[in-house]
């Protein structure tokens, strides 16, 4: 697992060079934006069920046959597995967002996920749909543009300052989608 800092270290070691002034510019920016990153991660942690459970329920509402006998979310044991997986994917996205690097998501969550779902007969397009809803909900919460009461509370300022980090979070969800598709 790497973060933005150790990613730079591993890159420099491959060249056998020290990390000097030129390499430090982007890391200094990363440090300067630390509060925004921490706020965004916290916004996810504070709304786990709002993001994950709602996304899975939303996906099921769009495909009501899923909870009927013969559907992929019938009986409740399988629905529970689906809810659990939504939360696990969201958790690894939150780690990647905190680290500023996708390696933790790749290594510990996505590696082999599609093969597992194929083997278990999980319908991929429905899993992708749930991830898409999680992505939309996460971006809305981080940028404080969700409907209903404001969900964002941060040390860095306003949700409108978090467009960049929301785009980064969205890119991790896209990574999940492309690895499943």
């Amino acid at each position: 697992m790497l973060d933005a800092f150790s990613r730079a270290v591993v890159g420099a070691d491959a060249k056998g060079a020290c990390l000097g002034s030129a390499d430090l510019a982007s890391l200094r920016q990363h440090v300067a934006d630390a509060n925004i990153r921490i706020d965004a991660t916290n916004a996810i942690s504070q709304h786990i069920s709002c993001i994950a459970a709602d996304a899975v329920s939303g996906m099921v509402c769009e495909n009501t046959g899923m909870t009927q006998p013969g559907g992929n979310c019938y009986p409740t044991r399988r629905m529970a597995a689906c809810l659990r997986d939504g939360e696990i994917i969201l958790r690894y996205v939150s780690y990647a967002l905190l680290a500023g690097d996708a390696s933790v998501l790749d290594d510990r969550c996505l590696n082999g996920l599609k093969e597992t779902y194929d083997a278990l007969g999980v319908p991929i397009q429905n899993a992708v749909r749930a991830v898409e809803i999680m992505k939309a909900a996460t971006v809305a919460i981080i940028t404080d543009t969700n409907s209903g009461p404001s969900a964002f509370q941060g040390i860095s300022g306003k949700g409108s300052d978090c467009q960049g980090i929301a785009a980064e979070a969205a890119s991790y969800f896209d990574r999940v989608i492309s690895s499943l598709s």
Binding site: D3, R28, I38, S45, R91, Y95, L98
Partner: protein
């Protein structure tokens, strides 16, 4: 690669929890110290050749060690300083542990290399760091902490 942030994430993942308030606090603390660490890393990267040359001169000045080993010693000192540069960036001793310390005792013992030469070199560098000529106080503290860590590992 162990760093300040990945250590926190590894612990959270082992417990299966989302990053909670105390995790985020730990990350925030490491970010707060990052400016000083980066200053130290930057100054070290700029002066690594001079620092190595000075330390080498000090180690070989009293004729205790065979001059034939001089170039290899310079290479190793440079290597360790580079790893310290990485540790300053990562905010953790991960790069030193994984690339510089794991297995080093066995290698030195097998090849009959006296670790005392390295200890003298790094002690010399530690004493020579001058505030504020080389870097500011906080940066120097971060740098010296890592030198001490390395000296202890080699002792």
């Amino acid at each position: 690669m162990k760093s300040a942030v990945t250590t926190v994430i590894t612990a959270a993942d082992a417990a299966g929890r989302f990053p909670d308030i105390s995790d985020l606090k730990a990350v925030k603390e490491s970010f707060d110290r990052a400016a000083a660490r980066m200053e130290a890393a930057e100054k070290l990267a700029a002066g690594i050749d001079n620092v190595t040359a000075d330390a080498l001169k000090a180690v070989y000045s009293d004729g205790k060690y065979d001059l034939a080993t001089r170039d290899k010693c310079a290479r190793d000192i440079n290597h360790y300083l580079r790893l310290i540069n990485y540790c300053l960036i990562a905010g953790s001793t991960g790069p030193l542990d994984e690339w510089g310390i794991a297995g080093v005792r066995e290698v030195f013992r097998t090849l009959g290399i006296p670790t005392s030469a390295y200890i003298e070199a790094f002690s010399y560098i530690r004493e020579r760091v001058c505030v504020p000529r080389d870097m500011d106080q906080q940066a120097a503290n971060e740098f010296k902490d890592l030198l001490n860590y390395l000296i202890n590992a080699l002792s």
